[in-house]
């Protein structure tokens, strides 16, 4: 069941759980930007500890830990595995 982060706040994603990217909503520069990080449709990500004060979301992708801006993260849609 896809979870639309843009509508429901990312607190729905659980820390330590893996999700699959189903859709990236944005222009070419945004999708290129995510592609350089290894995030495309089908990529598996794990949400890591992300305290809200920083306005950043921590994830693990392809064995690396990344922080993305919450506002950017909201343009990525996921499905629960």
């Amino acid at each position: 069941m896809p979870v639309n982060i843009s509508k429901v706040h990312n607190s729905l994603l659980k820390e330590g759980k893996q999700y699959r990217v189903t859709e990236i909503v944005g222009d070419q520069s945004f999708t290129n930007f995510l592609q350089t990080l290894g995030i495309v449709r089908g990529t598996l990500i794990t949400k890591n500890y992300s305290p809200a004060y920083s306005k950043l979301i921590n994830i693990s992708v392809s064995a690396k830990m990344l922080s993305l801006k919450t506002s950017d993260f909201e343009h990525i849609k996921f499905e629960d595995l």
Binding site: S29, T36, G38, Y49, P51, S54, K55, N58, A63, S67
Partner: protein
């Protein structure tokens, strides 16, 4: 000379490998026409270049663009590369390699972090990888140097090979019956023609290859420990407290650990000066050596311990992985000033020097934020301010009690905080006023926590300190000698000076001064200082401080060296710089020249004033116009004057 370039993603261990291959036999320059740092070293007669890290050839950040342009040039020149792959993120690294392989550059691959792979019980079948990728591959540990011998042999034998093209054929097309390949042009023009499909194809090929060549239990197991640490180190309360405590320890250590070596250097120069005075009979030559050359040299070398300690500690923060967490912690706070966590590294680099900080602002994707950081960064407390601060704080609080945590360190921290607040306010204003279009896309990679690579930390410390001594040292040394000439010679004759001195002694018996100090007032430097004295008197400065202020317009670190030279010329005894300044009295009174009000006024002046020609030159170069540099000079100078004026008038 043949050249080989190290290419790889950020945090792949390229710089560690570079340091192993070249040791201290390296220099830092700039790429032609731009100011991105270019590290070149020599190994066995071959020039090794350490290219800035690059995430993908599709990249957009200005710094990565430099790396990409260089790689495209190597494709034309067939100049070999060593691709450094992070063994812990092998799939990710090799996807970038496939992009480079399609450019058909003679290559070799180094898979780094062998020790971590062994700890995680990861086994790599190098033979399978070699066969599939088509070029030599070596496993090594750039921290210990394990496996480097095979790589050295490869470099000496020039055993690089053209790798197998991976997706290059996707860019083939028939034009007028001739097969054309558009991959180079596509990359060169930043066109992502095949988009996600191209990436997925590369990823599919590499992950398929690694299924056979890599045996591991869980690819993300090695992240677990860092994730646990992050729960504490980026925690909203504990994380912020840990950050503040770390900063406090860094600044205290800069003071506390440098006391002994600084005093030692100062005492050695005082001793050398007295030896020169005693053993050289020619008065002018003896004064030139002791008050000109030795005072100037001492003014540079005395600050080596503090600068080395600062770079050493910043190196530990960087190489342990903690610096990236500081970016995370600071993101929300910086967003209040129109910045992001991405700005924290250029801003913290400004603690070392504004020049590399302004260069490193190229990592900031958003042009508006980049401009704001470049404009405000010179207000951060650079290492050139450190000599001025430490000597004035030392004069204000000569005998602090409290051991490691004392009033000197707290004052230094307060000055750093003041510089930081000023930087943030100016960045906020610059960001608000700017008409530059913003681009807010950015991400932050959090490397795993590691024990720092001590070789890297020490080499970095050595090179940065050497750069301070070479760059700032030359300026300070030349200015010191010019000042000695100006302070030693007078437009008036000896007889005039003698008669004036005798008249002074008769008229002011209650304020005796030495003949040397009296002569200084009638020297060229004295006349020059007197010209500007009316403008700086409301700030609590006399003409001697005025000379040092003027001298330090080129570079603020000249201030202490200039005062050292002036007071050496005006003093008959050899003493430590600080002691000479402490003993200096105001004319016609027994009040100390460097009282608390004057010291604070000077400290505040140096917090704000834009006294660095090199920084102005870099700002002009990076921003493409003198407009910003001139604004910085006028705006920061006006604020410095007003704040110093206010402080002196309130405290005196």
């Amino acid at each position: 000379m043949d050249q080989i370039t190290l290419v790889g993603k950020p945090n792949s261990g390229k710089s560690s490998l570079f340091n192993i291959l070249t040791g201290l036999n390296q220099k830092i320059g700039n790429y032609s026409g731009v100011t991105v740092e270019r590290k070149i070293g020599v190994f066995e007669g071959v020039e090794i270049i350490d290219l800035p890290g690059i995430k993908s050839l599709l990249t957009v950040s200005p710094e990565e663009q430099i790396a990409k342009d260089a790689i495209l040039t190597y494709s034309i020149d067939q100049q070999p590369i060593i691709f450094v792959a992070n063994g812990l993120q092998l799939e990710d690294s090799l996807i970038l390699f496939t992009e480079i392989a399609d450019l058909q550059i003679p290559s070799a691959i180094v898979i780094n972090f062998k020790d971590d792979l062994e700890k995680q019980k990861v086994v790599i079948d190098l033979e399978k990888l070699r066969n599939q990728l088509g070029c030599p591959i070596h496993l090594m540990n750039s921290r210990t140097g394990e496996g480097v011998e095979a790589l050295k042999k490869l470099v000496i034998q020039k055993a690089f090979k053209l790798p197998n093209a991976i997706c290059r054929s996707q860019y083939d097309s028939l034009e007028n019956g001739v097969l054309q390949n558009s991959y180079f042009d596509s990359i060169s023009n930043n066109e992502n023609k095949l988009g996600e499909q191209n990436y997925l194809r590369r990823k599919g090929l590499i992950s398929g290859l690694l299924q056979f060549a890599l045996k591991q239990d869980s690819p993300e197991l090695f992240l677990q420990q860092s994730k646990r640490w992050d729960k504490f180190l980026i925690h909203p309360v504990f994380g912020v407290l840990a950050f503040l405590l770390t900063m406090l320890i860094v600044f205290q250590a800069v003071f506390y650990l440098s006391v002994f070596p600084m005093d030692w250097i100062d005492a050695r120069f005082a001793w050398l000066s007295s030896q020169a005075n005693n053993s050289i009979s020619n008065e002018i030559l003896s004064s030139f050596i002791s008050d000109g050359i030795l005072a100037g040299l001492g003014g540079v070398l005395i600050f080596i311990p503090q600068i080395a300690i600062l770079f050493f500690l910043l190196g530990i923060l960087e190489h342990s992985g903690y610096l990236a967490r500081i970016s995370f912690i600071s993101n929300r706070f910086l967003s209040n000033f129109g910045l992001s966590g991405q700005s924290i590294i250029p801003l913290m680099s400004s603690w070392a020097c504004a020049i590399p900080a302004i260069m490193s602002a190229r990592v900031i994707n958003d042009p508006k934020e980049r401009m704001a950081v470049m404009f405000a960064a010179p207000l951060m407390t650079c290492s050139a301010r450190l000599p001025v601060y430490t000597i004035l704080i030392g004069i204000m609080f000569p005998d602090p009690s409290g051991g490691f945590f004392n009033i000197q360190g707290v004052t230094l921290l307060a000055l750093y905080l003041l510089g930081t607040i000023a930087t943030l306010m100016v960045a906020w204003l610059a960001s608000k006023r700017s008409k530059i279009k913003g681009n807010s896309l950015w991400s932050l990679e959090l490397p795993i926590y590691r024990i720092p690579n001590w070789r890297n930390v020490f080499i970095n410390m050595y090179l940065k300190t050497k750069a301070f001594v070479n760059d700032a040292g030359k300026v300070i040394f030349v200015v010191s000698i010019i000042l000695w000439v100006l302070a030693h010679f007078s437009p008036k004759g000896k007889d005039f000076l003698q008669s004036q001195y005798q008249a002074y002694q008769i008229e002011n018996p209650e304020f005796p001064i030495s003949k040397d100090a009296f002569d200084l007032e009638y020297s060229y430097a004295g006349y020059l200082g007197k010209v500007i004295e009316p403008a700086i008197k409301p700030l609590g400065y006399d003409w001697k401080i005025g000379i040092a202020l003027i001298s330090s317009f080129a570079a603020r670190e000249v201030f202490v060296g200039a005062l050292s030279t002036i007071y050496s010329v005006g003093s008959e005894e050899e003493d430590l710089i600080k002691n000479r300044m402490q003993k200096e009295l105001k004319p016609n009174s027994n009040g100390k020249r460097f009282d608390v009000a004057t010291c604070i006024s000077l400290l505040l002046f140096y917090v704000f004033a834009m006294q660095c020609m090199s920084t102005m030159a870099i700002v002009r170069k990076e921003m493409g116009s003198w407009k910003y540099a001139i604004w910085q000079f006028i705006l920061f100078g006006a604020v410095a004057y007003l704040v110093a004026f206010g402080a002196y008038q309130l405290l005196s």
